[in-house]
């Protein structure tokens, strides 16, 4: 059954009536307008502002930006959905998506700040002295932005549909019309703002999404008598009353394996996600890089402690009001993806409140899409266009190319989201597998092993890209009706699932990069000194990069 049919047949709405709702509609429209205004007020006129917000962001503000940038529709909607429908497998997301930040904190955050460049591909290109490596990283960044945003578009489409009803773009279903509308707004907003505007907005978006989510979980818990003051713990007592599927331990080895593969992939994936890592370039100094990671993680935990509670409440309400959650005729993935909103709706709360919960989901999706599109477009404009194609590009040209890339990303994402292949959280996971397979090994080895060289990096990234594509072609491409429409090899899908392929691919990329680096000449002395400078305890000035220190302010060493 295609998604379009599901939506038209009214299967999504199960209890969630799709129609234009005046009060929530006004609320969401006002919120979107606010984002546009803030973006416009803090609009940028130079590339420094566009990409790294002038390196001026402090502890808590950056912590909020980390939180808003990080918590997307996948955290807000998709995680509760998986917890509700897939039992403890869904917890791999709760664990993986918080544990990741410790890895970033101890291995990457401060070192990246000291390295002090603009974008993730910048790091790869400069560390490995290679435009080929830079281009590979830039292409990967663009691809991550695209794959990751499909899930966001799906989330915005489903939630927007609930609030605005079917706006009726001819030839499209209600859901598809909403995807087009929401993505258009997102692109317009980004074209107006840039990194500084988007970072300022992220603090606002964070506030909206966290208030909406927490208010939702508290009120839903309260009115149904599930919980009083601490729903994040009190839902525990509800678990035994729910269907056994909600908390059942692994039934077999496959269930255990995919949990581990997913968690691993989400962890290393985060440590390779350009839109997350760029947050460490925007801070004042490396101490801020560390503390804002802790703040960010705390803000993220506020939502992550609550998501399983929301899922438990939603599951119970669904079983009571609509029907069985599990098995044949159970909850559809479309309904699960809006379970947070559904839970509020089923609690008979006023529409404005349900609208608030829904608005939080849209804020989450927009904030993350903004971060992804900026990272993706800066990869094209800064790393490929300015550094490789046209080194004499003016600031104006760079910004135009950047904006065109945002539009291209928006169009691609919209197309792929019209008939999405999987639930939000799964769609997003494919991007994590990619980031963990290709970029994480480059960051980790680049910062911690000074002998990692150009040949090793190129070989590693190429093998990462190729290996990541294998399960994507095996499982995901067929869901778009291509290649016969069926998973090509079920055995491969079990051992190398697209959702957690980094468990296999990342170690392979490490081995390839290390082996090739050993077999080829060591990187130049200067590169090694840059790596050392990233780890040195000596002070650096705010606008200095490790390279400045090493070359003592001299000319930029030529790339290959």
């Amino acid at each position: 059954m295609s998604l379009a049919y599901v939506l038209q047949s009214g299967l999504l709405p199960e209890g969630l009536n799709v129609s234009f709702k005046p009060l929530p509609g006004v609320l969401v429209a006002a919120m979107l307008l606010l984002f546009l205004v803030i973006g416009y007020v803090f609009k940028i006129s130079d590339t420094e502002g566009m990409w790294v917000a002038g390196r001026s962001i402090g502890n808590i503000e950056n912590g909020m930006a980390i939180g808003a940038n990080w918590m997307s529709a996948a955290s807000y909607l998709g995680m509760a959905a998986l917890i509700a429908t897939s039992g403890i497998y869904g917890l791999a997301f709760v664990v993986g998506w918080t544990a990741n930040f410790f890895l970033i904190l101890i291995f990457l955050a401060a070192q990246l700040r000291r390295f002090g460049k603009y974008t993730a591909p910048d790091f790869v290109g400069d560390r490995f002295n290679s435009d080929t490596a830079r281009a590979l990283a830039a292409i990967t960044t663009f691809l991550i932005g695209f794959v990751y945003s499909i899930g966001q578009a799906r989330g915005m489409g489903l939630v927007g549909l609930y609030i605005f009803g079917d706006i009726g773009i001819p030839g499209l279903t209600g859901y598809q019309s909403m995807v087009v509308l929401m993505m258009t707004i997102t692109v317009a907003y980004l074209a107006l703002s840039g990194m500084l505007g988007a970072t300022k907005n992220m603090a606002v978006q964070f506030t909206i999404l966290i208030v909406a989510f927490l208010a939702g979980v508290f009120v839903v818990g309260w009115v149904n008598g599930y919980s009083t003051l601490l729903p994040q713990i009190q839902y525990g007592a509800l678990i035994n009353d729910l269907s056994a599927e909600f908390a059942e331990p692994f039934g077999n080895f496959d269930g255990f394996y995919i949990w581990i593969a997913t968690a691993f992939s989400l962890i290393v994936g985060t440590a390779g996600l350009p839109h997350v890592l760029v947050r460490f370039y925007t801070v004042e100094n490396e101490r801020t890089a560390r503390w804002s990671t802790v703040w960010g993680l705390f803000f993220i935990c506020l939502l992550y402690w609550s998501a399983p509670a929301f899922a438990a409440f939603g599951t119970d309400l669904y079983a009571e009001n609509i029907g069985p959650v599990y098995g044949e005729g159970g909850m559809a993935t479309e309904a699960a993806d809006v379970i947070v909103v559904l839970a509020a709706q089923l609690s008979n709360l006023p529409t404005w409140f349900v609208g608030l919960v829904a608005a939080g989901g849209i804020a989450a999706a927009i904030a993350t899409t903004a971060g992804l599109f900026i990272a993706g477009s800066s990869a094209i404009s800064h790393d490929i266009y300015t550094n490789i194609v046209n080194p004499d590009a003016t600031q104006r040209e760079q910004i135009i190319v950047g904006r065109l890339s945002v539009v291209a990303l928006g169009a691609l994402t919209t197309l792929a989201a019209l008939d999405p292949a999987a639930p939000i959280a799964a769609l997003v996971s494919y991007a994590f597998s990619l980031a963990g397979s290709v970029l994480f090994p480059m960051f980790f080895l680049g910062l911690w092993w000074e002998n990692a060289n150009r040949q090793g990096a190129i070989a590693g990234m190429v093998s990462g890209l190729v290996l990541w594509s294998v399960p994507m072609i095996n499982e995901v491409v067929p869901t778009y009706g291509l290649l016969g429409g069926e998973t090509l090899s079920p055995a491969l899908a079990t051992w190398m699932p697209a959702i957690g392929s980094a468990l296999i691919v990342t170690p392979v990329v490490f081995i390839v990069t290390i082996a090739v680096s050993y077999a080829t000449p060591e990187p130049p002395k200067e590169t090694k000194r840059i790596v050392r400078q990233c780890h040195s305890p000596k002070r650096m000035k705010r606008q200095q990069t490790a390279e400045d220190i090493v070359t003592d302010g001299g000319e930029d060493p030529a790339d290959d």
């Binding site: 101490r287 402690w305 606008q543």
Partner: protein, 147 residues
């Protein structure tokens, strides 16, 4: 722009003079000449730092991977209902223990790392702020743009 940069250990000597007493490395480590290695740290600072990192990493690995592994190995014991809060144990360890454990561990690391900075005499944030007017050096440093 260039004269206030400490390159190649030249200006670092002057800086160490001012901060010398607090340092435990005697102030004569040239960090640009000391190899970075995860397994055999070449400076006292790196040795102290890596000790923290590996200790944290080990605890982190237990917080993240012990609950699922134990749940797979001993599902019955792990799904016992906990007193008072009513959670099945495995569910609690993953849904509550995972995020909380990581958060506390991050707090531990960041505080310890600040203490380490203090020990090596770089207490008030190891990056000076506002040393140069914004963007003044960027164009030259990056070799691009028209700033």
């Amino acid at each position: 722009m260039t004269q206030d940069r400490h390159g190649d250990g030249r200006t670092s000597t002057e800086e160490d003079g001012a901060k010398g007493e607090a340092r435990t490395d005697g102030g004569n480590v040239d960090y640009l000449e000391s190899e970075v290695s995860l397994f055999s740290p070449s400076t006292p600072f790196m040795r102290d730092h890596l000790r923290m990192i590996w200790k944290g990493f080990a605890v982190w690995a237990v917080i993240v991977f012990a609950p699922p592994v134990l749940t797979f190995v001993a599902p019955d014991a792990m799904s016992t209902t906990m007193p008072v809060i009513g959670f099945p144990l495995h569910y609690f360890l993953m849904a509550v223990g995972g995020p909380t454990g990581t958060l506390l561990l991050s707090l531990w690391y960041t505080r310890r790392r600040d203490a380490l900075d203090d020990k090596y005499g770089i207490g008030e944030g190891s990056t000076e702020t506002g040393g140069t007017p914004d963007g003044a050096g960027e164009a030259a440093a990056d070799g691009g743009g028209e700033a």
